[in-house]
Structure formats: C-alpha cells, structure tokens
Amino acid sequence: MDKTAEKKDSIFSKLSRVSGTGALLPLLIIIIFLSIFTKSFLTTSNIMQVLRQAAVYSIMATGMTFVIITGGIDLSQGSVLALCCVTSAFTINSTGNMWLGIIVAILTGAVVGLVNGVVVAYIKIPAFIMTLGSLYVVRGLTLYITNSTQVAVQHDKFKVIGQGFLFNIPIPVYIFLIVGAIAYIILEHTATGRYIFAIGSNEATTRLSGVKVERNIIKAYLFSGICVALAAVVYLSRLSAAQPTAGQSYELEAIAAVVIGGTSIAGGEGGIFGTLVGAVIIAIIRNGLVLLGVGSFFTQIVVGLIIVGAVSLDVIRRRLAMNK
C-alpha cells in the first residue's frame, strides 16, 4: 500500500511538473460553470465545434510559444495569416491544385518567419519592434496584391481540411493535435528545444556554452511562420475565402493563449501543453458567453478578466509554492 501511494505521488508530481498544468484549474472551473448554466454546452457536437474553433488559434499559439520561450514575440502573426490565405487562395485558383496551395502557404509563412528571425538574431533589434514592423509591412503587402478585395477559393476537396470530419471528430482538431505533438517533441525531447529554452533563459550564457544562438532564434521564428501558415490553411479552408483584412489582432489572442497556458512572457519557461489548454479556454469562453446569452460587450469584458485572472492565479500559485 505504501508503495502505491508513493507511485501515485510521483506520477502526480511528475504531472505537476509538466508546464501548463496550472491552466487546467481555470479550464475545469469554466467547464463546470458552463455545464450548469447552459443546456447546450456539454453536448458532443458543441464540444467538437469549440475544439474546431480553437484550432486556428492553437496552431498559431503553438508557433508563438516557441518565439516567446526564446524571449521574443511575434506580433506579425495576424498579418501573416492573411498573406498566407491570399497566396494560397491565388495558387489554388490558378492551378486547381490544393496541395500546391498548401505548399505556397507554408512557403509564404516560412519566408516571413525567416526574415523576422534573421533580423532579430543578427541585427539584434527587439523582436517586438521587428515584428511590429512586419505587422504593418505584411498587411500593406496583402492589401496591395489583392487590391483589398477578397479572393474566393474554387475547390471542393480543399474544404474538407477545415470543415470535414474523421470518426466524428473535426479534421482541424487532428491538425492542431498533430502540430502540438510535434512541437512538444521538439521542445522537450530535442537539442533544438533545449537551446530555445536556454536562449530565453539567458542568451549570453547560452552563447558562452557554444550554442549557435542566431541559428536557433531563426528556427523559432521560422517555426512560428510555418505554424501561422498551417493555421491559415485551416482558416482558408473553413471560410473558402481569403480576406486581406483577416487575422487582425489575432496575434494578441495567440499571446493570450500562450500566457494563460503558463508560458512566461519573459522567456525561458513554458510549454506547448499549457498553450493548447489556453487556446481551448479562450474558445470555450467565447462559445460559452454566446450560449449564456451575454451580449458581445460583456464578451470582451469577460475575456479580458479571464486573461488577467488566469495569469494572476498562476503567479499567486507559484508564489505560494515558493513559500512552502
């Protein structure tokens, strides 16, 4: 009996060491609350819908997690989402090949990510500034190449990515779980992952340890760009149309998901698991507030309070743990 107790304890303590479990508590509270106060929240179809709605944000937030862990930030994500949608839509319409469209989206995201990464790593201007610049430049570019009109996608199979189901689970859910899993493995089980944490924790000493800091910073932004491109594919497929104005301020939602998930905005600490939980929390709140019949002004108020509340909870929990 004693042994089992020990084992349980160690599993529990292992779990609690996985970054992001702190966000499970607010998630649970919100789920219980909504299950009690609305009749349609806890239905399979609604849950599936919420997860599908969380997909775009959680894929973006996965990329954002990498960048934030290096101590950076990627404010250009929203703009890049629009650009990827547009290039992809153009490609699909002109070639009729959806795979080519997906590849072009990924290339687009990768190029912007690469540029962000190279400037941040080599010129060493703050990520906030570089990606704020990209936010404007990429948005301007997107409006310019579309002449600010939307591009409808003419391709039936392409819709499946965003709208289809497999074993009654929406395909976007698979995509975000797969992207999340890959990101988790990279972060926790490869050398690159360790370097990304190390850079955010202390860049100077990371360099003194012989790590190619620049290269790994670039990798993080590249990954962010690619994640945004994948999010764009899901987004485009769900909407069947690319708006050049899409994604405005979505980077803020991605950042919110990341920090609600327990990743430190100062870098060096955090993880993917928390980010996915964070993205799901946000999606549930938005869904729940509609079901509760709360007006849209209150939605904004509640979203703001939850962001602050979740992070405060995490901060206070850690401080208590420190004093124990």
Binding site: H189, Y195, S201, V211, K212, G268, E269
Partner: protein
Amino acid sequence: MKNQDKPTPIVEFKGICKAFLGVKALDNVSLKINKGEVHCILGENGAGKSTLMKILTGVYTADEGDIFINGNQVDICDIRQAQELNIGTVFQENSLIPHLTVAENIFLTREIKNSIGLMDWNSMNKECIEWGRKLGVNLDPSITVNKLSVAEQQIIEIVKMFSRNPHIVILDEPTSALSDSEIENLFRIVKEMQKQGVTFIYISHRMDEIKTIGNSATVLRDGQYIATIDNIKEIETEKIISYIVGRPLDEQFPGREAEIGEVIFEVKNLSVPKVLDNINLQLRRGEVLGFSGLMGSGRTETAKAIFGALKRSEGSIYMYGEEIDIKGPHDAIKHGISYLPEDRKEEGLFLEKDISWNVVFSSLHKMKRTNLLDMKEEKRVVEKYKTQLDIRTPSIRQVTKYLSGGNQQKVVFAKWLYAETDVYIFDEPTRGIDVGAKSEIYNIINDLVTCGNAVIVISSELPEILGICDRIAVFHEGTIATTLDRTGATQEKIMHYAMGGDISG
C-alpha cells in the same frame, strides 16, 4: 628568466592587444604556458586577465597579435572553435542557464541522443551522477539550476567543464564562491588531471591558493605584461604582491584605533521560517562584527532580514535602545542601516548606468533643491568620493559595467557611504577583489568605525574575518553557534563551530 631549451609551449600569446571604447585592456601581451603546468595569471582588478582568457576562448577577438597552440598558429573566432581545440573554461561570470536542469546544462551542445534522435535523458542523468561522484559531489541531475545556491552552481560549472575532457583548462576565479572543503576537492581534481597531462590556466586573487596549486605565473598590470615567475612556490608572497600592485604593500590588514562604545544596535529573536532560527546580536559603536560560517549557513539571510529585504516571521530590531519598525529596505535606511549585497552585479549596481548615477541613487533626497535634483551637487559629491576611494576611471560619467570588479565594488561603497547611515552591513565586500583594493576597502571600514559607526562584515575568508573583526559570530544552519572575541579566535575554532561542533568542544 626564460628557458630556451624547453619544449614548445602548449599555449603561446604573441603581442596581444585589445581595446574597449578606447580603454586599452591588453597592450602587447606575450606569454608562454607549458604543457602539464598550473599557470597562474595574476594582476589587479582590471589588469586584463579575464580579457586575455576570453580572447583565447574566442569570446573576444584580439585587435592585434597571434595565438599559438602546440606551436601552430590558430584563429579562434568563437567559443565552438575553442571547444574543438579542447579548451575548457569556467568563466568568472556564471555561465549556466537558469531554467535548465543540471543535466541539461552539463550536456548543452553535446546532448546524448537515442536511436531516433531524441534526447536520451537516462544516459545523460547517469553520466551526470558519475561525473559528480568523480569530483566528490552529489548531483541531482533533474533540478533546475536556478534553485541552487551560488556555490552549488559554481560546482556544476566545474563539472560541466571537466566532463568535456579538455586538454587545456581555464579557471577564472573558480573559488570565489566555494567553501574551503569544496576548494580542497577542486584542488585534488586539478592535481589528478595535471598528472594526466592536462594544462591549467588559473586566475585568483587569493595568494594562499596560488601558492598551493600553482607551478608558474604571469603577472599583468594595466593590460601590460610585467613578469613571469617560473617557480611560484619558491618566491615570497610579498614579492608576488609587489609585482601585482607595482609597489611594496605595507600591511594586509591595517590596524585601527577605534574606540568601542555603547551598544547602538540590537537584534532579538530574529527568525525566518526554514532559514533562520532565533538570531540575537548586539553591535557597539566603533565595533566591527564578523559573520562567519559555511556556505548557506544563513549569514546573507540574516543581513537581508535585518535590512527588510527578506520577510521575517519574528524578531525585533533596536537602534539606540529603541525598537524600530522595518518593513522594507527604505525603512532600514531611514533608521540608519545600510546593506552592501554580496552579488554586486545583480543587487548592488545599475550596470548600464554611470558611476555618478549609482553613487547618489540611495540618497537623492539629499541633493534636492526645491523638488528638482541639483546636478551640481551631484557632481561635487561624486567627485569627492572618486578621490576619497580612489575609484580609477576616466570620468564619473563612465558606465559601471565597463569598470573592473574592484572599482565597481568601490562605487557601491561610495553609494552607501553617501547614505551616511550608522550601521553598515557589508556582505562579502572583497569577493573577487585584488590585494591592493582589498586593503583599501579595509581602510574604508576602519575609517567608518573610527568615526563612531558600527559595521558588520560577512566573509567566507577566514584570514579576513580574523584580520579585521573585533568579534566574530559563527553561523551554523541558520543559528548563531557562538560569538568569539578577536583575541580568542582561531581558524580552527571558527571551523569547529561552523561545522556544528558543540559549545564545549
């Protein structure tokens, strides 16, 4: 002094020059290091020792000059090339990654991977523990290093470096945070590896260490080569010191004629959960009280708890017999207590700001005219302290991060002297400070008590404690084991109590 028929040196510097912002850190330095030796680099703070090592490891590139390894000219532009040349370094500054675990830090850039390319934690943890055992320490490979004390971190750094099997090892003040037993351990390993043909370049300001571990030495002063000492054990310490400071130094611990007066400061029943238990102490006018003890015995915590930087669960503090309420450092300062922290870079200085800014920072209320700051007064005050403490700098507008360690420490001293408190707590005031500057700091302390102030000095160097204190409080696991008088104190006695020996022994 040099021998021509010796084999080719393993490391040779030829005409190295390096300047920062117009400051010549190294000026045409040439020296040779032979295989299998422990070669010490000696010099005052800012002499250029660390800079020379950073050039060897590719952190900086020399403006001029060449480096030869085993007689071959090499061009080291980054740390990885140094690693490829089997040069291992423990830098003066901590170079661990705070949020990574011990194992991750030790294996950074040479991770062990399993068959599918993922990290093999088990092997790394095992090897980690093994290396720890070899060096005589118990390592927990999965704890993140930010949870470790400075001393423990220093040990991890040493393990990290040795685990790379280097041929040339640079140790830049490796012992500044270590306790005596840990230092002994380190020296044992150094000697062992020396037998296997490993060459060491060793930097320290502690003369006793240099005598114990070193074979030969090179002295630098103001970035210039001064002398090479071929056999360090045979030369007197005074001689070495005179090479270092450029003049004979009269006395290491200058005497003083302070009159010890009434009790002006008292701490009763001070406790901090899990760290400190029932600390009581008294401090008299004109007295220097030493805090001695092992690493982690709670000396810093005591100081911080008194100063209000650490929350105490119990305890009262009295100044001139009256109880004072200290909620934070601002209250402590208001009541005439100041604290010079042990980590000057993280807690003592604004490295990005200039000397002047740092010196006046704690006493801005003194240089107010109406509500605005009086810049002329600022200049006058800072120039005064610059002269008084002999802060070596081209200008009081110099950014403090570009000062040498000793001069940085003097800036922090100036800051607290200007605050003009009655009780001063100095935490490791001479850590990483050269012999010349050390005796200047002792002089400052003497001046303070002569003027009727009282001083607490926390130090891990027993000779220093014995040399400058009137009484010595010996800490053991968060309590004061005993308080010794200067006259009756010896190194052995202090160690006995510090290790938890009972009072009667």
